[in-house]
Symmetry: C2
Subunit: 475 residues, 2 copies
């Protein structure tokens, strides 16, 4: 596998566009010699192939007599580099034109343009990081909230790899003993202590279950906590959402470079990403079309981790000055919806938000406020929004997050962990039912395979392609 990665690759490592500087990165056996061939030191002549690792050199990149740019060249010597190979970073002036000129110079002279993720792929192939850590690099670059950032950093620094690796090594030990038994099948010996083996299988099962379960949390933290807002059309849903979004947007846009393409209904509070899902109400269906709408609402609520029930203060308060006769129907409907959702989805976090509190004079709410948190706001006047935010973040922190917990946030890991768990459950069952050793080894091998795939001890070209093609070029 390693042989194909002996050539020297190059790519722009910084974002495309104009800036003060741009960094062009080379990696491979010839990286330093290639750069040295086009480098001229600013002061006394210098041979880059003879300088120390982790040193920086000022000079010119020249194409023949023509100076392309004045640059800083950073030298990283094998194995003390990102890829584990010789690496050179050329810091050029941040003009796209110059960057292209320098790139083209090397491309014309036997250096290949890197594939997406190829630098990190090489780091993996040269055992500078395991597959989990390599994947974390991509997650880290894509991270856009406190939690996704911390998840990626945790994973990059080892995460659950070491635990999986340790358990897998123990399993390999038993597997080899059991396979040995097969060679002595006629003599009916047991090299592998069955009770110790059962104990190991238990430990692996517990760990895997724990990690598999953590995916629900990890995925939410990475992708955002889905929050469904349920309420009558005129209760102020969009006013609320706009009030929240506008406030946040002002904050976001004051920090240059933090906004990506604006996604209308996503917000980050206290480092937690929330995704707001707008829903129609859940009124009694009177016709077919309405039934479809209600079905969709239920589907959206099913996705959500948190459901906000938004109600008009006037509808909730019988004696309020703004209370209208039709509000009785609204309240009835509201209570029905609350009951329905609570019954249908007992695990959802529910939050009651009372809008237009500025219009009532007495808080004589016709609803039991002990079951669910109740927040009073005026979306129009932007009051109570802070309470809503802190209630939402505390719901998530209490229910989902444990800062010291290792969580799985990558769908590939989840799949492999699940497969490993299934195989381990098979092994467990096999041990309980005294399955023949040769059948047992099939399940053990399957478990070893799945575990190995997680950390990259077992890889296929397809697997690597899949992982690295989603990287940006230059990483």
């Amino acid at each position: 596998m390693k042989n194909q990665y002996q050539d020297t690759i190059i790519a722009l490592a910084t974002p495309a566009g104009s800036g003060a500087i741009g960094v062009i990165r080379l990696s491979g056996n010839d990286a330093i010699a290639k750069v040295n061939g086009f480098f001229q030191s600013r002061y006394r002549p210098k041979d880059l192939t003879r300088v120390k690792s982790h040193t920086i050199h000022l000079g010119y990149i020249k194409d023949g007599d023509k100076i392309l740019d004045e640059v800083l060249v950073s030298i990283f010597k094998n194995p003390h580099s990102y890829t584990g190979e010789d690496v050179v970073e050329i810091s050029v002036h941040g003009s796209p034109y110059i960057q292209q000129q320098v790139l083209q110079l090397f491309l014309k002279n036997g250096v290949r343009h890197a594939q997406p993720g190829e630098f990190t792929l090489r780091a993996f192939l040269n055992a500078k990081m395991d597959l989990l850590q390599a994947e974390a690099v991509a997650d880290l670059i894509a991270s856009n909230s406190e939690t996704s950032h911390q998840l990626a950093l945790q994973q990059m620094r080892g995460g659950f790899s070491s635990e999986i690796k340790k358990l897998r090594d123990e399993l390999i030990h038993f597997a080899s003993l059991i396979e040995l038994e097969l060679d002595f099948a006629e003599e009916d010996v047991e090299f592998a202590d069955r009770s110790q083996f059962k104990d190991l299988i238990q430990r692996i099962k517990t760990t895997l279950k724990h990690l598999v379960d953590s995916f629900a949390v990890g995925n939410v933290l990475k992708e955002g906590v889905p929050v469904a807002i349920v309420g009558e059309p005129n209760v102020g849903k969009s006013t609320l959402l706009n009030a929240l979004l506008n406030e946040e947007r002002a904050i976001v846009s004051s920090i240059a470079g933090t906004t990506r393409d604006v996604i209308e209904d996503e917000l980050i509070w206290d480092g937690i990403r929330f995704r707001f899902i707008d829903t129609a109400g859940i009124r009694e269906a009177t016709d077919e079309i309405e039934k479809i709408g209600i079905k969709k609402t239920y589907e959206k609520i099913k996705e959500a981790k948190v459901v906000i029930f938004l109600i008009d203060a006037c509808a909730l308060s019988q004696t309020a000055s703004c209370h209208q006769p039709e509000h009785d129907e609204v309240l009835k409907q509201f209570e029905k919806e609350l009951r329905d959702i609570a019954q249908k989805y007992p695990s959802k976090k529910i939050l009651i938000v009372v809008n237009k509190v500025d219009q009532i004079d007495r808080k004589d709410y016709q609803i039991d406020t002990r079951t669910y948190p109740l927040i009073e706001i005026s979306a129009k006047h932007k009051t109570g929004l802070e309470s809503l935010k802190s209630e939402l973040t505390s719901l998530v922190n209490k229910g989902l997050l444990d800062q010291n917990e290792v969580v799985v946030s990558n769908a590939r890991h989840y799949k492999a962990l699940n497969e490993a768990l299934q195989s381990i459950l098979q092994v467990e069952q096999g041990l309980q039912s005294n399955l023949s050793t040769d059948l047992l080894t099939i399940d053990i091998r399957a478990a070893l395979h799945s575990l190995g795939e997680i950390t990259g001890e077992i890889t296929t070209d397809d697997l690597l392609d899949n992982i690295f093609r989603n990287f940006c070029i230059g990483k």
Copy 2:
């Protein structure tokens, strides 16, 4: 002036956005100590304030216990850095979120966000480069063609600064001698040898004139060579322009990152930028509105360095199968326009382009083809375009460019050089007319001032503000 720049500044030096890496740059007395306070080495503990200059260090940037990112830190020690101060470059993972986290950490801890161009301003104030070189840095980043790139590089490496500086120093020498004469005015002595002084004034005048004249060329190279296309509405002007643009656009877009906002009528060939200017024709005016149109056409032609006269082959060829009676009028008009322009603007390069050559069977052109280059094309069938391009580039190369020549391409320099030249002419005149010494010194001082402004030996805050506020932040 220097005192206000003792604090430590920070900015993102790479373009905003996601990439493999981003570089955050700090400069100032505290730069290394500040970074050291939040840095933890990946391997053995390390004190960044004690490491050598031009070395790179792997570790973490930590906010308390929380790791913000795994980074590479490059140390540049005063005065061996871009700014001449202590400089640290932190290479972080290329997520806008992480970049903001790291920036915010330092901003919260006594580091100030850099103003646009402040790093380069400090480099200038610390005498790492003169003002011409500092300005060249911005030009270099904005360079988008071979010629603008080479102009900026030439200027960054010294350009005409050294010549101006040398002449100015000689002028200062004479100025001080002449001012000394004023102190001994009653004794009527001459410390400054008048013939040597006249000789110096001649040399300064020649140099300044040469540089002032080069601006026409420098500006053209930087901003693009303006090419006016004159021709009948149906002669195929827009077909030609589209044929040229489309072809070029395909080339441009195959090199990632080289295109800026597409400007419809700009093309780069052989590293030379061309700006195409569309014009109406120059027919006999019959009414007021037409007169205005013709006036505008003349104005546009005045801007142009090259004028392309585009004519239909059928109009040019009396015996061609496609020749129509009305073509006689077209040809008459064409010849009149050609004469008019050649007379009115004798310095313009003129090119005759015959379109629709595929429609004629014999090249019996009714025009003297010896005076101007004549190119045959078919814009529709895209033939002859290469000849047109090479004729255009060779016209420019012959007429405008001399690769070894120093040219002025910056409007500020042009203005200052012009002012210096005017003062020097005054001095020359004063010397010829035996102007009194005290009046002579006024003009000498004015010349010294203008010359000093070019290289930055004389600066005002306004001047510096003007120059550096157009820089990007981080440079």
